[in-house]
Assembly symmetry: C2
Homo-oligomer: 129 residues x 2
């Protein structure tokens, strides 16, 4: 299978698939014409990667998870630990964003937003906290 087919099956752009080869996540063989030739197993891996990335796992996490995926003697505890750590990171990001949101929405509401120059948003930004 050529890269274009794999792209449409996995939902990943060809560029990204090449990049994943560069960093060693997939290792397609080459046809005599130099084209990458992907096996079904390669496609599975790429689907796996696409899904893991939409769940926000880093590339390094993906590498780990892919290793576990292919290791028949893995322990599910290992997978769970990786996922839990990521979950924790997501929670922290959400909290950060919610803090930003709360502050900023307060400021936006306080700003009359007309042609006058005075603005509580700018006042806040220029204030040392």
């Amino acid at each position: 299978m050529n890269i274009g087919d794999v792209a449409s099956r996995s939902g990943l752009p060809p560029k990204t698939i090449r990049y994943y080869e560069d960093i060693g996540l997939v290792k397609p063989v080459r046809s005599t014409n130099g084209y990458r030739r992907f096996t079904d197993a390669d496609v599975h891996k790429l689907v796996f990667l696409a899904r893991a990335r939409t769940l926000g796992f880093s590339i390094e996490d993906c590498r780990t998870l892919l290793g576990l995926y292919e290791d028949q003697s893995r322990e599910s505890a290992h997978v769970k630990a990786v996922a839990e750590e990521h979950l924790h990171a997501i929670e922290q990001k959400i909290e950060q964003l919610q803090a930003m949101h709360s502050t900023l929405s307060g400021l936006v509401e306080a700003c009359h937003g007309d042609s006058r120059p005075d603005c509580p948003i700018l006042t806040d930004l220029s204030t040392v906290k």
Copy 2:
């Protein structure tokens, strides 16, 4: 004032302040010894930048906001528009992260997390959605 003092007053690392000079956000003059010399106005700008960055504004947004901050004839509507757009982006990010969180926490709960290899997390990841 030297960069070290400015760093402690603004909370920004010296490296970051130099970077902000590189990209034209501040323009400190130079002393005869080659050191950057910051005025109070420069410090105000850097405090402004530090605060805007903690609220998640991009550097380009910061550049715009800084321009408005220094423009006495600005319209608060302009500031508000920039802030609202950013607020919207924050909301979208939060939604994305919450979707990830919801999926992932379901999977983590479903995984028994022991020494056995079978794992619903991996099963999900390897499934085309």
